[in-house]
Symmetry: D2
Subunit: 222 residues, 4 copies
């Protein structure tokens, strides 16, 4: 899955076609947001439909108002877009998560919502989401998968405990230092996080120690 | 439970003492918010501790940033206040709900969080909340209790379906018309909703018809 | 002028009548804001008209979105209310000030806007406002009056310099410590500021020193 | 002057160098904003200094929180950046305008602020700004220049009247329809506005009529 959302519809289509040619499976398309006051449901409906009509691989809507100055895809618009044969679902990284939307979706429609945060991945499983896109999984992929398995097996007490660990860690790492914290956590757990893209800075050594301590406290490294 | 939160600490204490004398069981204390930029965690900690020290009945924190211009009780402050012997819990009506906080609470502490919206009452049950304070329950108390019973009995499929109905209705009624919509729904389901306090208006006859239709669509009245 | 704005229309009218009986000249009525999502132009129009119809002394609208969780009186509503014979004007304490509104008012209408911040009192004089309601004037009434005199006399260079001093001080005092800073400044300049109402705290001794230094730097005390 | 602001420092530098080679006079650099919660004063200081150090033509900071999800350059950071020899000034398109900043700038520093809206261009002239960057000037360049001339000539009554006309028009056009409205106004006044970039739409024919009527009402076309 590759993110191809640009401010302009035309440029988003061009990037999406390129990604399509490169053989990827999905494009994830963040909402445009520069002219935030003008970006309403109709604008977004037209934007996503034109993109989905232009490429052969399925489109995931990407709703992330924390990164788009509050621009959200209205629930009504998501319901309309869920009918499009080439729109496969939505990644929801809003602070409040997709709970309200999930109550309104037609369960017979082939449209799926992915929970975009470790803070609500587990409760959203109880609302029927088939999966999540979780930044913390960059550093701790196995515990995130284990949480999903525990849920599938009906081991809800264990799942809740693991969810609490992951959510606490997510709040401590991503909630405090953002993407730079996630990259530091990746370095700590044996992956390659590296430097965030400037103007963001690497976290301080002190922050690295705090992150390491937090991961140890939750029992994910020793 | 009676709401006694005022802008000033002194006035909140006076009202809380009065409520205490009248024999009520709890006070629920909304955050002050007029001088929003100055209302930080330390200010709120001191505010709630002084109130809880002044009365004999337990205090519930009330976190409702949608009604307080974005003023929230920071998680760190809630954790500190959870140690106070006369602070019993928190009613959370934030748009994002208490999921992040629930991961951080000490389960051995005698402090309980109530889910403040039909939109996240059910998923929060899976995170350990003991109950909710739900505006829709003014109009539909039995279905809300039934949802709780289904959860307790482990009937999760039925619970999820009932949750979806209640959440859809909550979005259609409270989400569209606010307190005036809830009052109209109460009149429809046989309770006494009546007029909202001015400057709010009663909803239009057309809105009453839509609300009635929506309650019928979800199968709660025929 | 006495502030009488409450959340309910009825209670605002009661307080306004009381203030009227006590012999005051004006009531200043802050917008209600608890049910912020429902408080639109029509609700506000009706609210203010009912109040203005109920009392014999004139009403000032009070627009202060920083204290009301973003609730603003829409320009269109102000224009409608400006026609009411018992609505005399508006105090505008929004961050952006009344510049946009002033361009739209009918100059023949007997309706006046007061600039609600030292940060834009002077430029608003050039847009025709007849005065201001400025928190810093609690501590420095004479310089604020002097600024007005310089403007009236056409001494714009001196007025601009004095405006810069007052705006810098306002940003340093009110912008940093809010009402508690203004009260400290009042104590410093020989007035009685005293303690802010709890939950707000008095500023620290260190802050008092900074405020004193700032007032000295601008030449208002020696 | 060419806008070269991208989310990454590196990409902004690359685009700025290109613009420099193409012979332009200035780059205007909008704040990055995707990771809004991490974009603080230190991050912005470093970002702008690295860009200004990398190119030979001067840099204008571009502060436009309405387009960047609320990301602002803090006043303290602007003051620090104003000392950089290759940072020439700032274009301020915040809703509140540059009034607070202008009070804090050192008048001996070679750093200039341009007012970024017809709503506050005129009052900011009284605070010492040397000019503005005004979207409405795309459609009405001569009246905008005339406003500046009236100010320079000390014809303040005429300037205020013209300001009111331009601000009303700006609110009616840009405030209602955004960039699409400005483009329609350009077509009406004899320039080439054309279509906005998708996903934005052209305004309706009805809106075109309203815009034309508004420009006529203010006397700029007949």
């Amino acid at each position: 899955m590759v993110g191809t959302g640009c401010e302009s519809t035309k440029q988003t289509i061009e990037k999406s076609k390129l990604v399509c040619e490169m053989g990827f499976d999905y494009v994830s398309v963040l909402t445009p947001c520069y002219f935030a006051k003008q970006i309403d449901g109709d604008i977004l409906k037209n934007h996503y439909e034109r993109i989905a009509d232009s490429i052969d691989i399925p489109v995931l809507l990407y709703n992330a108002p924390g990164f788009t100055g509050g621009v959200r895809i209205p629930a009504k618009t998501v319901l309309e877009l869920s009918l499009h044969p080439n729109i496969a679902g939505m990644k929801d990284s809003s602070p409040e998560g997709p709970a309200k939307l999930l109550a309104c979706l037609d369960p017979n429609e082939d449209f799926h919502v992915l929970a975009g945060s470790a803070n609500f991945f587990y409760p959203c499983l109880h609302l029927g989401v088939p999966g999540g896109v979780i930044s913390l999984a960059n550093a701790l992929p196995n515990p995130c998968c284990e949480l999903y398995r525990l849920f599938i097996q009906g081991k809800y007490d264990g799942a809740r405990m693991l969810h609490f660990k992951l959510s606490r860690l997510n709040q401590a790492v991503s909630g405090t230092w953002g993407v730079a914290g996630v990259k530091a956590a990746m370095d700590i757990t044996g992956f390659k996080g590296g430097q965030p893209r400037g103007p963001l800075n690497v976290v301080t050594n002190e922050a690295v120690e705090k992150i390491k301590q937090q991961i140890m406290n939750e029992g994910f490294i020793s």
